[in-house]
Symmetry: C2
Subunit: 295 residues, 2 copies
């Protein structure tokens, strides 16, 4: 890959994350950023803010990818997983020869399988997952997303070119991310089922099980912290939950096992064992490094 | 009650919350703040920082309350619930005639029952629960606790003097708290079981069910937010969970009901119903006012 300053970049999907990524890429002064989004107003807003140099509404100009992709050295796919797979399939012939492609999907197994089946041999697709977000969705909130020091997972394919991997990791760091973890799609899906999807299911269930919204008068911060992510993008999380359902259900059951253990100790009034288990939990959480940034 | 500037205040227990309360009270320039704590070093530190005017280590001077309480117009009990009940029983004869007493215990039913049985007729005890904290414990971290705009629950007794209630609420606001909710001990315990205790059990179970502490490399913020409160004060939460076990177990089961519903939808791959339920969750959480401050 040539230096980013000489690259034309296509960003497909200017939602919360696509918008945030376009903003971060723009700061790296690429030759050109061209955006594709279903929504014409989003394209107008992004052009107005100077975040993109050129943009097309896919609703109005359904064939736009056919003229945009042949010009893009680097393509960031910021679409929901199913939309992205349809987009890749439909526009595979249009990508520029030798283009580097990456994505942001929160599940990787099915994507890697599909990409390995359909990708043109001259293209390089490096699957990725930026671990950032915000509780408000859409391009209009994309300025709120903070990449600084955040985790980024990439799940390289066997055929990825080494120099492209280095190039992409450098761009990811320059966008502000901290720790980049390289792993397999399987490990990604297994771990994300715990750190991300299980947490969203829990937050959802917490809100689901109490109808009285005025109960927040009794909140001291923990309820607010545990349920902030319940303000989720329902269509996207529905896809992620169902696509990763084997791992996610396993994680929910693992969590329920611990919940049942606490329930039994509380029910038995076994203060000694309960305190011991809570102390162990405290120690484990304290020992977890949630801040480490490796650059 | 006379103006706080003319009051001598006793603070029993200079832990995380007692320390934070002493700091906030000191800023209101009372006549005198006298502290009691098991730990002599804590007393020395608080004296050194000028947060208290006088202090006694209960380990070294077990009879200190007998000379401190007769001088205190206002007593803030910042002890674990069981310790507080023992303290009240042991020192009931020592309180100054007409003193106003309040506490910070996270459970109220058993305390109100005990206080109604043992309180001297001339004393006024207003049970309270400041909804604030921090994930690090002890006096040394009490400067990290932020009261600004936080909720405060009081569960007045029938015999509380109206003017004392107004006086205390004014002090609470002046310490920085936002919304003060007056309710019964029963309602407090019912709602706190949900907003606070259930959340701590969930955070604990989330940490309990995964041994790999390096999984935080896959964290994007939600896992960190959901488990921050797992860094809890194990002895205190053990007491709170067991003392409120009927309500807490009911809340855990209510939560498990919602979790099971999500599990079933995910397992069935029912995208439409799952998306609908997640959208409803999102709407409910968005409609919850977690910031409102009424002063």
């Amino acid at each position: 890959m040539k230096p980013i300053e000489e690259c034309s970049i296509a960003v497909a999907g200017l939602g919360l994350m696509g918008g945030a990524i376009a903003r971060a890429l723009k700061a790296l002064k690429p030759e050109r950023i061209i955006a594709l989004d279903m929504d014409g107003e989003t394209i107008m807003a992004a052009l107005g803010e100077g975040i993109i140099d050129e943009g097309y509404s896919l609703a109005a100009e359904t064939e736009a990818p056919g003229t945009v992709l042949p010009r893009a050295d680097f393509v960031y796919l910021c679409l929901n997983p199913s939309t992205m797979l349809r987009f890749l399939e439909r526009w595979m012939p249009a990508f520029k020869n030798g283009a580097l492609i990456t994505d942001i999907a929160g599940i990787k197994g099915n994507i890697v399988t599909a990409v390995e089946k359909t990708l043109r041999r001259d293209l390089d697709f490096i699957p990725g997952h930026p671990m950032a977000g915000a509780e408000k969705g859409g391009f209009e909130n994309s300025g709120l997303v903070n990449f600084r020091g955040k985790n980024y997972i990439i799940t390289p394919l066997a055929q990825n070119r080494r120099e492209n991997l280095s190039w992409l990791k450098n761009i990811i760091h320059r966008m502000g991310f901290g720790r980049i973890t390289e792993t397999t799609a399987e490990e990604h899906d297994r771990k994300i089922a715990f750190t991300s999807q299980l947490c969203h299911v829990i937050a959802g269930a917490l809100i689901d099980c109490e109808e009285d919204t005025a109960i927040t008068r009794f909140g001291g911060g923990s309820f607010e912290d545990l349920t902030r992510i319940a303000m989720l993008n329902a269509p996207m999380w529905t896809e992620l939950f169902i696509e990763n359902k084997t791992e996610l259900l396993r994680r929910i059951e693992q969590f329920e096992g611990s919940l049942d253990a606490f329930k039994a100790l509380i029910n038995a009034g076994d203060a000694r064992a309960l305190e011991e288990r809570l102390s162990a939990v405290r120690e484990r959480r304290v020992s977890m490094n949630t801040k480490e940034i490796v650059r």
